[in-house]
Symmetry: D2
Subunit: 352 residues, 4 copies
């Protein structure tokens, strides 16, 4: 019953096998090997972007921070949702990698913002007022940090604002695969086709060991990214082992297959919980992550039974057994049906 | 005949097996798992430093830059050798991670400096002159970037200067194991026992996939390091896969065994080349890396035969077949005797 | 009728005379001159803080950014009001001088926050969650950017929260003198006696040419500040000319005299406007700055008559003559009674 | 007998008068006033560069660091002389304002480098080697920190290398006027006409209170500079007082007149000392600064007589009265003939 994070899951066997397979003899280092070239090509293929600049890095924060470093100047403000990972979960990495840009948080509880909110926020920064931060890139997360999704129409509306204002659009796709699987769209349709300029394309949460692709559709930014990556201590000497993961992840649609499985697990978990009277879902589920209000006594029963997941306020911050607490349940590709069934059963069976 | 870098070699089977073994079920992320705790404990054990702050990061530059970030203030200058990796091979990562400290390069061709040179350089910075950089930490590399070694006495002399001046001492140990194996000393003897405050303890070049331990003997620095690591986008979510590598590396002395093997290969390569008349060694070999002057025609023959290694001036920068060119030959644990024999044979057999 | 900013005003004659007086012969540079020593001593005297670290810098942003650099670490978030000058008017200078700290804005329209709001915000950052920003210093502005004031009780309540949480408290006192004059309290009473750790003590807006004192009550921070000042290109070679200004400003209570005069002008302006039917004050006036809602036709008449001040939405963003627009009126020491009388007369006399 | 620095001198009366004149009524702030516009225009006129971006800042380090921030990327290395002010006297300000660029020092004792040395140093950085720093701007100082001068031919040769390599050329002109007066050339001839891209045009050392102009001949860089200036806390609110100084400085050739006077003083001082047997000049004097080797007993006599100047090794670091110590003697515009005569007399009259 481990639903704390899709970071808790193991590496998918096909990816581990690819690592073992890559472990053969001596090859050039720092990304000049054939496997890296092939993996980069594979990413371009999946994104239908033959000229995109593509770099492999080991963490999602690295992809986000390096991309924002390429898109923002130190005197800019970045526009993002107030729950954005870049704003609340990266310990000032974006500030560090942009050498001091600011983040202006937008929007409401569901970790999304819309085109109007964005327009209003941008308009609050007057380019002729040199004492304010300058208008910088816009960054959104898909799947959002609250488990919700932007529709392609919403993405288009946001990118239209960016176009009009001359601002870049970054997509934090730590769960890109889960979003694409849920929307039934292609990588291209969810990125450059709706006006996204740069994507942090996650794999770690969806079956890889530690690899994300930073994708910039303007190839002129390639050298700057590479310099920032080196200066950021984020270039692997034995680059083939990042490449092997990414290549296996993108081969035969594994990335979408695993994401679809994770999403289906979340659907099933949601369905199981939905008919418990005092259970309520906080946000519309978009993919593989559920936020659920449950009374403390149900959480208690789950924790007692060994369930592992986040409870926002903590179980111990009060003692009213009926107080509603917000739980976050994330399904990764490795969650099994038994775990889900047992979780639902314990939640449902809990007694005051 | 691949002698370009110990980064070119594969992952040792025992380390790959440990990765496969670690790939079992869901575990907590971001370094809160049991395997990470065990690996950290193992590093402390090897260093006989039960209270040391130990962090696992994926690249050597990350270990160096984060440690220097903890030791240097933005207005400091760091003292290092002029060939130091931190100065010439990290694309300003130390400057970035210290938020703008300077590096003052010391010493001569062999990538070493001695206590006197260090003292002179330090004395050039007058603490009462606030227009100069302030005196910051000292950083040395063991094995050096020219393949030479500091003796324990030399290290002690350097650290004595540091003590007297109140400066920290950092050791870039990308090839720490090779040095320890060559000197026949323990990790403790080559670090805190001779006054080293922080070590970048490499594993990647010596059989790991991508892991280095940053070790600070003052445990009070632990939280700062961790914050810098997070802000540096260098915390792995699936931390167990860094831990598995490090633990296997340190189990049953594998780290020293692999280093000794690599060193022995270099001895054998050196011996093989030493009786060729027009071959000369540029620096005293310390461990697993050789710098050798050979006439262009020998290099040409080797390259034609498929040998892969660095020639400083490049083969094509001139056409005098007798011009001496400096070659760098690095042996990692995976170099086989046949490669060495063949390299020597081709070098010896080359004809004008 | 110039009410746009207290930055628009001239230098007070006594301060200009001090500059002329200081212009005598050759003296040591970079703050080692006797006049600088005397001015620093004078600041300490005024603050009744004989050991305080005191530095003279030419801009308020410099004082703020350098002080925050001393108080915040790059992974911190600084807590301030959402209208704080450091957040909205310094083009990311605090982010630059802290090497990437974040600002968490608090509170409501009057540019103030209270102890409860602060406590809530701080509690949102869990020190054990290393992915969040760390808790950093608290910064408040007195007089606030909306012209309001913190009472001494409010300051005490805020500093008590800081104490409990182990956080530093910075006071942006660009209009420190106006606040002290309005509250009728001493510099000490409005700073260290209510738990403030560092003050940006402004003089430029109140009759100086370009000088502010950065005051830190913990003298151990002195060297760090000085290093940051040098690295920030903010050390004057001919330091005596900063010192001469500050000394004249603090001699014979000139600083309070000028502030009281400016405050009285604002009182008079407020009184004059208060009986116009469709005029409304947006915030309770604290010192020398008034925010006033007036219909567009009155603003239009004033602008036509040559009045110079800020209208938040701009005069031209609409055409309804009755739309209420927010004007900001700032009185500095040099505002004369005629200007005020005429402004009131024009405002009152305006016709649709 | 004050020869320690041209920073020790007072403000020239004409400049002080201009400040007093500017102190008239309320004017717009932050550089939007008419006086600033006029001063900027004046700088453009003097440089015969009607489109240049021109900004007024209070310190030479500010001009240097902001300009280098515009010219260098964080992963660059800046090429300068090893005695360059930016390298040894700005406490890492260039590193801070470039967000972490490195400085590669060139050349020898006279604080100059030549085109060949520059070419060699640049060639040491291979643009295809992404682990090295990237090639960044070149910065030279005219008059140099050792009091020597680049001829226009030498400047042309250096700028030709820059052109060929696609690198920018910055000139630190803290003593620009002294150099122009000594070479008898115009500001244009010593800057853009010989290929200089950006100039720190000093006034403070030559009679101003605290003002330097940062000049970039490519007007497209203007906005970036302005943003960096704001973020660097280096925009004056009462900007007219910077402008008044610069305008007076450039009116009726005052800048060249004062520089010529200072240079003539140095000539006279040099002549007076030159026939003392055991006195030797260390570097060829270029303008208003002399480096002179004299035995300790002469320095002692001078110090005893109240002379104030720098002695590199310090008087007290030894006791051999005949040991030669290096003294630095700087003449500013305010040095009088009596001081010079007396200095020479005391030096000459000293007895063992």
């Amino acid at each position: 019953m481990k639903f704390a994070s899709d970071n808790n899951g193991p590496v998918h066997p096909k990816i581990m096998e690819a690592l073992v397979r890559a472990n053969d003899g001596a090859v050039p280092s720092y990304g000049t090997d054939a496997l890296t070239a092939a993996a980069v090509e594979k990413v371009r293929e999946v994104f239908e972007a033959p000229n995109a600049a593509v770099f492999l890095v080991p963490t999602g924060t690295a992809a986000n921070a390096l991309l924002l470093g390429c898109l923002a100047r130190p005197w800019d403000t970045i526009f993002s949702a107030q729950f954005a990972h870049i704003h609340v979960d990266e310990c000032n990495a974006p500030e560090a990698f942009t050498d001091g840009a600011k983040i202006t948080p937008l929007g409401a509880d569901i970790a999304k913002f819309n085109a109007d909110e964005l327009q209003t926020a941008i308009s609050g920064f007057d380019p002729s007022n040199l004492k304010q931060s300058a208008r910088g890139p816009v960054s959104l997360t898909q799947v959002t940090e609250r488990g919700t999704l932007y529709s392609l129409e919403e993405l288009s509306a946001i990118s239209k604002v960016c176009r009009n204002e001359g601002l870049s659009l970054h997509l934090d796709g730590a769960r890109f695969a889960n979003a694409a699987a849920a929307l039934g769209c292609s990588a291209a349709e969810m990125s450059w086709k709706v006006g996204v300029d740069a994507v942090s394309f996650g794999a770690t949460k969806n079956g890889a060991m530690a690899v994300e692709a930073a994708v910039i559709f303007d190839p002129d930014k390639a050298l700057e990214f590479r310099r920032r990556q080196q200066r950021g201590a984020l270039v692997f000497s034995k680059a083939r082992y990042l490449a092997a993961q990414m290549q296996a992840y993108l081969t035969d649609g594994l990335w979408l297959e695993l994401a679809a499985k994770a999403n289906a697990s979340a659907v099933s978990l949601e369905a199981g919980l939905s008919d418990i009277d005092d259970v309520e879902f906080a946000f519309p589920r978009g993919a593989n992550m559920i936020y659920v209000w449950m009374p403390r006594f149900r959480h208690q029963a789950l924790v007692d039974a060994g369930a592992y997941y986040y409870i926002e306020q903590g179980l111990l911050q009060g003692d009213d057994p009926n107080e509603l607490l917000l739980g976050r349940l994330v399904c990764d590709w490795s969650v099994d049906a038994d775990s889900i069934a047992r979780f639902v059963e314990v939640a449902r069976g809990a007694r005051l």
